[in-house]
Amino acid sequence: MKDTPLKLCLFYCSNSLDANALRQSFSEIGTDELTTVSLPCSGKMDLLYMLKAFEKGADCVMLVTCEQGDCKFLEGNLRARKRSESVDAILEEIGLGKGRMRVIQNKNEGGIHQIIEEIESLRKSIRNQR
């Protein structure tokens, strides 16, 4: 079970991430399945999108947002974070535990490398829960 590839779903704000570069880097670090979904702003993220991803079998869901204060629509990333916390709480209620939902702030200095590190740490924590 521990060796079964994980299903990862990553939603991202299209203003803050080059998904092609991310997929390229991701393919170099393992065999897990990564689905990426583009959003016009992370504030478009809805509880239902995240829950549907879990319903369809995702082991964890990530959301890449701009840095705090950098949102083109002012508060989209703040709303996205609150909604993600809500989903995390629902997953805990369901019995899946906390920590399967992660918000990653795309910091300008870190770029793709920093996001891949965050994905790695989440993968490890999910594998340990299996």
């Binding site: 509880l47 239902l48 829950l51 319903e55 629902i90 209620e93 369901i94 019995g95 899946l96």
Partner: protein, 222 residues
């Protein structure tokens, strides 16, 4: 409007544990506005229940539907086919909606998916507050439109109690003192004299303590 909030998923799972075909039925009126039981919340709760069903190997089959109003037979009729197709109904309506569905479909179990909380308003985004206790004998005209029965934690008709701190209620410091609000309001509308009158004990007969209430309008009963 009637304000409600969803039950927690473990409680819903316990309620539904022995069920297979479940209709999650939303209501498009009050509980839609308070983000508890509208079309969107029907989808969210259904999705959470499907995940819980997989986690606990429960084999739920969930159908989703939202009708305009669950407390009205005309609209309940729209759910007839979906209700027939399913074994049980999880209503995301208020308590009145749940009971209206149960009275209309006597052969189907109907369960409440929400806890109906109070009659209130949206004070700011994501914050609903209670404004009316439906006491059956409104006294709002005497208090500048601010209800001491609902908004004063001690239900005082001859306030204030003297316990407020910096215009905050001593029982719930996150809420303003109702009597402070009443004072400001009466002052603004030039009716401070009202506070000099002693209000006699309230008649609670029309309230819920007299049993389930009924209103009859004979002019509409032909």
């Amino acid at each position: 409007m009637i304000v409600a909030e969803r039950k927690r998923i473990p409680e819903l799972v316990e309620i539904l544990r022995d069920s297979k075909k479940i209709l999650v039925l939303g209501c498009g009126t009050c509980v839609t506005v308070c983000l508890a039981g509208g079309e969107r919340e029907v989808s969210i709760i259904s999705s959470a229940l499907r995940i819980a069903s997989k986690v606990e190997s429960l084999d739920f089959e969930i159908e989703e539907l939202t009708i305009e109003r669950q407390c009205d037979n005309v609209f309940i009729e729209e759910a007839a086919d979906a209700i027939k197709r399913n074994d049980i109904i999880l209503s995301l309506g208020c308590g009145a909606g749940v009971q209206a569905i149960a009275e209309r479909y006597i052969e189907k179990p109907v369960y409440a998916g929400l806890n109906t909380a109070f009659i209130g308003i949206l004070e700011e985004r994501g914050l609903w507050t209670e404004k009316c206790a439906a006491c059956g004998a409104c006294v709002l005209h005497k208090y500048g439109g601010i209800c001491p029965v609902t908004r004063c934690a001690k239900h005082m008709l001859n306030g204030p109690c003297g316990g407020s701190r910096e215009e905050r209620c001593e029982v719930r410091p996150d809420r303003p003192c109702a009597w402070q609000l009443i004072y400001h309001r009466l002052k603004n509308i030039g009716q401070l004299d009202r506070l000099k009158k002693i209000e006699p004990p309230k008649n609670w007969e029309p309230s819920l303590s007299g049993g389930c209430r009924v209103i009859v309008r004979e002019d509409h009963r032909i």
